[in-house]
Structure formats: C-alpha cells, structure tokens
C-alpha cells in the first residue's frame, strides 16, 4: 500500500476520508481504487442528482455545472476533474464498476465556515496523521441535525450495499466519516427523504469563468487531467510563441495565419505535466507552482522582452509563502500568487501568470449543452451558494478586481492583422511625450553630474561661497577651520542624449534601424535600433517594438538617415553608430551617453577632436522601472489607429 494512502475499514467498506475539491485527494482516490479493487463505489452525493451528475462526469475533461433551484435559491455543483468525488465517479464509469450515490437530499443545509489544514500536508505527512488531526477537530464541533440525518442515511445505504458487494470503496468527507462508521455498526431505519428532484439542469461552464469558480485553479486542474492518462510526448523547445507575429509577404499576399495562443498555453501545460514528478505519482503542488512561474516567465519574456531576474523569483516565492502562512496555509492560492507576481515583478508578469493559471485547454464556449457564465460573487452571495462542498469562501475573492485582467484579446485568430492595410506608419503620442521628458531628465542628470564633479570644498578665507561644508569641517575639526563649498555651474549645455539598453553584439536581436524626424518644434529627431515591428502584434494595426538603443537630438528636422551615413563607418556596433551621430549632431558641447558600459577611448578621442565631451551615465544608476516603461514603444499603421491605441497598449 502506498505510504500516503489510508483507508478506514468497517465491514467490507473501505472508506477514504477526503477534503472536497482538493487535487491531492482526487489522486488518493485513484490510489485507493488500485489498492482496494472495489466491486462497488459509493459517494457522498444524493441519488436524486444521479442522472445529470453522470452526464456531467461523462463530459469530462470538459467542465460542467449542475444547477437546480431550492425555493428562491440556486444551487450549483461544479463537475471538475481535480475533485475526489468526481474522480471516484469517473473511475467507476471507466472501469464499469457499479456506482452509488448514497447521500440523502435535503432542501437546506447550513454552511460550515471551519478552517481546515492545507491539503498539501498530505503530500508530506501522508493521509493517516492528517485525518487523525482533522477528526479530532471535528469531534469538538457539535454536529447539526442535518448532518446527523445525512450520516444515518449514508450508513443505512452502506449497510444495504455491503450485503450485495464484496469490497466497497466509500469516498466521504472527513467531517462525517467517524459518525458514519459508528452508525454503520447499529441497524438504521430507512431515512425519510426526497426521492426525486425536478428541474436539475446541466450547463457547460464558460471558459472565462473557470478561474473564478473552480476550486483548483484551471492550470492545476489541467495538469491533473493530463496526468490521468498516459502522458503525451514532451513538446520540443521552440514551439509556438505568445508573441503574435506575421510575415510581411504573407500579409501582402492576403494570407493571414492563425495565431496559436491556445497552442502555446497548451504546450506549457504538457511540458509542466512532464516535469512535476514521475508518471503516476501524486503531483506535487509546490512543483506545480514552480512550473507555473517558470512557464509564465517564458511567456513574459516572449511578449515583453524582459527577463525575470533571480532576485525577483526569490522575492516572489518568499512573499507568496509568507502570505499563505499568514492565512494559515502552507502554499499560496491563486489570488495570493497573483498579488505576489504583481508586487515582486510587474503587471505584465502578473497578466502572463494569470493567463496561464486560468488556462484549461479543453473548455470551449460552445458545447452540446447550454453554456453558463458564473462568477464567484454569484456563488457566494446571500442567495446563491454551492451546497455540498464546504470550502473557504475567500479563495477566489478579489480576482476580478485586478485591472490588468481587462487586456483586449482578438475576437478571432487573425483579426488584428486586418489593421495593417495602411502603408503609413506613425508613433503613439503619449510615448513620444514620455521619451522627450526622459531625455530632458537625462540632460538634467548629466549636467548635475558635471557640476558635482567640478564642485570643491576649501577652508573659509573671505567668502562663504555656496555655504559651509559641514562634513568637511567636522572631518578636519583638528585644524580648527571652517570649510566652505563652491558648487560650480556647468558652462555648456547638453545637446544629444543616447541611451543604450542592449548593446546587441550579435546584431540579430534588434535589426530594425530607423531615423525619425520630429513631427513638430517640441519633438526631437530620433534614431534608434529596435526589434522588428512584424514580430509582436498587440492590436489591429498596432505593433510593439523594444528599443535596443536610441538617440535624441534637438532641435528637430535636421537628421539624415544615420544608419547609412558613411561618416560613421568606423563604428563597431549600433551603439557606437548612435554615439558618433550624437556627437555629430549635437549643437552643445556635451552629449549624454547612458549605457551598461562606457564608450571606447577611441570615441572619447573622437569627441575631443570635434570639441565635444561625453557624459557617461551607468545604466544601473537609472531607474529600472522608468527604463522599462520607455523600452517598449508602439508603431501604428495609419493615423486612425491613434484613436484606438490606448485600448491595446499595455
């Protein structure tokens, strides 16, 4: 018998104590089935739901919602794969073992807001000690009348079944099992209960609601589902990317490819299913979170060009752990992970994380049965609730409040490519303003740096200059002199600004080299190298590029195509090309050069020959958040796109 499994045995009943809607227990049902090899499976569900419930189970892996009304209330039962009762029913159907729903149907049942331990502990300590502790907890809670009725009813049905079968696998919530076991030993009267229920309807759950109403988030459910069957081969690296790109010739010829976002996400699911443990083993929830993080980091890099740093990864897992521990759980839930993703990385990463976490490959918005949209608020409001499943009410709360989830998506694959018919391209004005402001800021920083380098302190003689230098005075207090400081002002101004975000030594990452003239007197001329606009489509006629480096030159309308200017043939890289152009076009003596590495001495000499000076600002001394905001820019195909661009640009 596997270490983690534990079964309570009474008569010929092998009872598996479970927590509802938890993936670990769904897996234990599979282990219990293998171990007991039952000739009958009994579930803690009422028989009145059987017909529609089994219809929902047969639809799996597509998720269904079973719904009916009790007085003014709607009752919902979600049929999702990572639930132990659903798994029990599936195994019975697949192996043609008789299935019995042994609970009784009540119109009202009180909700139990008890705090149960994290099901992940079963992974580490096994089911037996876990169950002993939970059973102890339940012994201290007096059962309600409805609980006692249900338990007596189930004990009665189990006694009946035990007379007809040899080995019964009974799957039952931990709250009830101990008393059912006691009731089983004493003869029970047949319970008075409803035998029929009208108006039970089964719906297909809309894929956009999965993340809100599933107890286990969709990515985890998808991994569980994938590992139920023999694993498909692991996808080869370099599969479909989430970066929406198109081939320019295809566009001209009118051939528009489908953009395989779903495929890229499904590949992530398949790859993760392979890497969370050997086939057939209980999937480790902690490893699932790690895979979700790593795959999201990959998508994030594809889409934004930003890398997830090691310190960000460490901060994410530490913060998420602390957040979970404060909620008395061992591992974070989806909301907590999203909060950590946003807090320790950024909104774009949180979006990538959410999109993958909410992905369940099999769910479609059109099915052979009606589709239902359901929100967490509807499930947990005063009038609507899920009945059979005691679970924490806070789990999914707040997800919809994360505004980044409102990012626009294509209505159908290829929809956005239709916006590229206009041959004229233009920029997005708010980004122009942003980059101009940043250029002015760098000029100020450069001027301040020069001023500080030129400032000096000296003992007070006749003038206080710019004030007493307290630090220098104290440092030389033994001299008994007062030191004063003189702040030198920079005599010349700063002309051009060059920012090199990535040197691109290979020369392949940023092939798109452009020279743009300012549209009006307030805008600088600009030369830059960037990722190709055909590589990342984010809206109809809207491309997203990332700068490798750029040059700003003011006043505008002076710059000729710097990339084909033979004067700069001595440049060894694109960054040097830009710096040489900056030195050439600068009307002032100083040129600001912000980059990870300072320029070669050859360029400093070249500047001196031109009577110019390079102020070098290390990239690390600038704000990474400001640079990140600046790094991505958008190219709009046609001026009409300026009106709609704000809805697509993130």
């Amino acid at each position: 018998m596997p270490d983690r499994l534990y079964l309570e045995q009474f008569g010929n009943v092998h009872a598996l104590p479970i927590l509802h809607y938890r993936m670990e227990f769904a897996h234990l049902v599979r282990e219990a089935f293998e171990t007991v090899k039952p000739d009958c499976i009994a579930l803690e569900l009422p028989q009145t739901l059987e017909q529609q419930f089994l219809r929902g189970v047969r639809r799996l892996p597509e998720i269904s919602v079973l719904a009916y009304h009790v007085a003014a209330q709607s009752v919902f039962l979600i049929i999702e794969p990572a639930d132990p009762l659903i798994e029990g029913a599936r195994l019975a159907l697949e192996n043609q073992v008789p299935l019995h729903l042994v609970d009784i149907d009540l119109d009202s049942y009180p909700s139990h807001p008890e705090q149960l331990p994290d099901s992940y502990s079963v992974q580490r300590i096994g089911l037996e000690p876990f169950y002993r502790e939970v059973a102890k907890l339940y012994r201290e809670i007096p059962p309600g009348e409805e609980d006692l009725r249900r338990e007596r009813g189930m004990a009665y049905r189990l006694r009946q079944l035990s007379a007809q079968h040899e080995r019964i696998l009974f799957i039952c919530g931990m709250a009830h099992l101990e008393r059912i076991r006691q009731d089983f030993d004493t003869p029970q009267a047949q319970p008075l209960t409803r035998t029929r229920r009208e108006g039970i309807t089964i719906f297909n759950l809309h894929p956009e609601c999965c993340h809100e109403v599933l107890a286990e988030y969709p990515f985890l459910s998808a991994l569980y589902e994938t590992r139920r069957s023999p694993l498909p081969p692991e996808p080869a690296p370099g599969g479909p990317s989430l970066r929406k790109s198109f081939n320019a010739f295809e566009l001209i010829l009118g051939g528009k490819q489908n953009i395989p976002e779903e495929e890229a996400l499904a590949e992530s699911v398949q790859r993760s299913a392979h890497r969370i443990g050997p086939e057939g083993e209980l999937p480790d929830r902690q490893k699932i979170i790690l895979r979700l993080f790593l795959e999201s980091a990959r998508h994030y890099r594809q889409e934004t060009g930003d890398k997830v740093h090691f310190w960000q990864k460490r901060a994410f897992f530490r913060f998420a752990r602390n957040y979970a521990l404060l909620s008395r759980m061992l591992l974070p839930d989806l909301f907590q992970m999203l909060a950590a993703a946003r807090g320790c990385l950024d909104d774009n990463f949180a979006y990538a994380f959410f999109r993958l976490a909410a992905h369940y490959p099999w769910q479609r918005d059109v099915a052979d049965i009606p589709t239902l949209r359901l929100s967490a608020a509807e499930l947990w409001s005063a009038t609507k609730r899920i009945r059979f499943r005691p679970r924490e009410q806070v789990r999914a709360k707040g997800l919809s409040r994360l505004k980044m989830m409102n990012r626009k998506e294509e209505k159908r694959p290829g929809d956005w490519l239709e916006g590229f018919d206009d041959p004229y391209i233009c920029s997005y004005p708010p980004e122009d303003l942003n980059i101009e402001e940043y250029g002015r800021n760098l000029k100020r920083i450069g001027a301040r740096q020069l001023s500080e380098e030129a400032s000096k302190s000296e003992p007070f003689s006749s003038s206080l200059l710019d004030g007493i230098d307290m630090r220098e005075t104290l440092r030389n207090v033994h001299e008994g002199k007062i030191y004063v400081r003189e702040n030198k002002r920079l005599k010349s101004g700063v002309g051009c600004v060059v920012v090199i975000l990535d040197e691109d030594k290979e020369g392949a990452k940023y092939p798109y080299c452009m020279t743009w003239l300012g549209e009006h007197a307030q805008e600088s001329d600009m030369a830059f190298y960037a990722t190709p606009p055909t590589d990342n489509i984010v809206g109809p006629g809207i491309s997203r590029c990332e700068y490798g480096g750029f040059l700003l030159s003011y006043p505008p309308r002076r710059m000729v195509d710097v990339w084909h200017d033979p004067d700069y043939r001595y440049a060894l890289s694109k960054s040097e090309h830009l710096l040489m152009a900056a030195l050439d076009y600068s009307l002032e003596k100083d040129v600001v050069y912000a980059a990870a590495k300072s320029p070669r001495s050859f360029l400093k000499q070249h500047a001196a020959r031109l009577g110019k000076r390079i102020i070098y600002l290390p990239l690390g001394s600038l704000s990474p958040v400001a640079l990140k905001k600046l790094r991505a820019f958008h190219i709009l195909y046609g001026r009409d796109k300026r009106d709609i661009a704000k809805d697509y640009i993130w």
Binding site: A315, L325, L326, A339, G343, L619, G620, L622, S623, V625
Partner: protein, 272 residues
C-alpha cells in the same frame, strides 16, 4: 528623549509617534504588508516593501495600521528632495555649551529600538541619500554614519516601509535600490463601500446621506481617472459641514461650493 551610547558616542534618540489613524480599507492589503514583514526563522530577514498609489489613498495610514498590528513603536521620516545622507542617519547639533552632540534620526531610532520606520514619500529623495540606506535594505541590515564613524546594526525586530506617490517623479530610484525595495504593494482607489466606511471613520458626526453623496462624486472621479482621493472627499464633506454650521444651510446645497473650493471648478462636472 532617550539617550544611548554606542562605541563611546552618545546619541539622542527620536521619539516614536502616536497618530489617530485606523485602517478601514481592504484587509487584504494589510495582510500583504504584514506578509512582507514576516520572518519564519531567526536567519530569515524581512522584506522592505514599498507602498505605491496616488496621493490620498491611505498609504501612510496603512503602514501605520500594520505597524500597530505588530504592536511596535512607529517612527516616521518625511523624505524631501534635499534630504541628505546624514539627515537619514545621525546629525550633529550644537549643544548648550558649544559642544557637538549627535542626534539619531527617526530611522536610526527605529533601528535601535526595534520599531517600524515609515519612510514617507521616499521617491522624493536623491540617489545619494538612497545609497546610504543600501546596506540597511539587504542582508547586512546596518547603516554607517560618516559623521560619527559608527556602524549601527538594526535590531531584528526593525521593519521599514517606504511610501511613494504614483506621479511623474515616482520610481526614480536606481536599480540597486529598486531591487531592495520589494515587494511593491499597489493601493488603488477604494470601492464605493470601502470609501463610505473610510469617510464614516473620519467623519463620524456627518450624516450618511451627505457621505453617500460625496462617495458618488468620488466614484465618478475615479471612473474618469481623475486624481480625486478619499482625502479630498473628507475635506469636501468637512468643509460643507463647517459651512452648514456657519450659514445654517443644507449641507447638500453647500457641497458644490465645497467641491469648488477644495478641487477647483473643473471638478464640478462630477457632481450630480
């Protein structure tokens, strides 16, 4: 004022603050801040979180409430553009007999006493001032005072939180500080229900109908992405109530006047 001697140098410590602030907003945010400060082992170190949001959304209140939840002393340091490294650590002052005395900043006082420091408007400080905090914000957890030559180690219970406004000057901190100020907790404008609760907390003497009216005004402003905060709402309601006492007019009649005086004429379009 407390005094302490470190390596033979006498330091005067700043006093903690007591403010009449109570957090009535989103409880999850409070939990996130506490999670950032939490340590699970004596070898573990806490995060140095930053709270980001528009002015008036309650960043300082949240930080203060979280510190009080931990039952620690709270110290506040208001950062400005001309905050120098020595202002953040130890400042020399002239004593009664012309001698030099050393005053520990609220930051150092919090470090020594194991309190919580709220570094308010941290984005206003220059890089030079931030550089002096770099060793405090990583595993080293100390600061060095150039003036006294002291190395001051933070008490294990010391916690720091930095608040930053989400305006054009926000985030202008260099990369090595950015990576030390994690996680970033974003405080958005509250939902209508929370906003009403905050107004009630601050103006318990105002009638609910007036507060509802102010909340509706604020919510319209939020929807239009205007920077009107709950602090503005409190000021509007308070002004209208004061005018009511003076003029004996109905406060709802006075609200347009209050909105105009507090936020300007352009805000009147969000009143209905």
């Amino acid at each position: 004022m407390d005094r302490i001697t470190l390596d033979g140098i006498n330091l005067t410590l700043a006093n903690p603050i007591e403010l009449p602030l109570r957090w009535v907003g989103d409880e999850e945010l409070l939990r996130q801040l506490l999670a950032a400060w939490m340590v699970i082992d004596e070898r573990d170190i806490p995060f140095n979180p930053r709270l980001i949001g528009k002015p008036g959304v309650g960043k300082t209140t949240l930080a203060y409430a979280a510190a009080k939840r931990l039952e620690r002393k709270v110290y506040l340091f208001q950062a400005t553009m001309d905050t120098r490294p020595e202002d953040l650590i130890v400042t020399p002052v002239i004593g009664p007999e012309g001698t030099i005395q050393y005053a520990a900043s609220s930051l150092v006082s919090a470090m020594i006493s194991g309190g919580v420091l709220i570094l308010d408007e941290g984005n206003r400080m220059s890089e030079k001032a931030w550089a002096s905090l770099a060793p405090l914000l990583d595993d080293r957890r100390y600061v060095e005072s150039i003036i006294t030559g002291l190395r001051i180690q933070a008490h294990p219970d010391f916690r720091i939180v930095v608040t930053m406004n989400e305006d054009s000057s926000t985030f202008e901190v260099p990369e090595y500080i950015h990576s030390r100020l994690q996680p970033q907790l974003f405080i958005d404008f509250p939902e209508a229900e929370e906003e009403l609760a905050i107004l009630k907390e601050n103006l318990p003497f105002a009638s609910t109908s007036i507060l509802n009216y102010v909340v509706q005004f604020l919510q319209r402003g939020h929807a239009a992405d205007e920077p009107y905060s709950v602090r503005d709402g409190i000021n509007i309601a308070r002004y209208a109530l004061k005018m009511m006492t003076a003029t004996e007019k109905d406060p709802r009649e006075l609200l347009p006047l209050a909105v105009e005086r507090i936020l300007g004429e352009e805000a009147l379009r969000y009143l209905k």
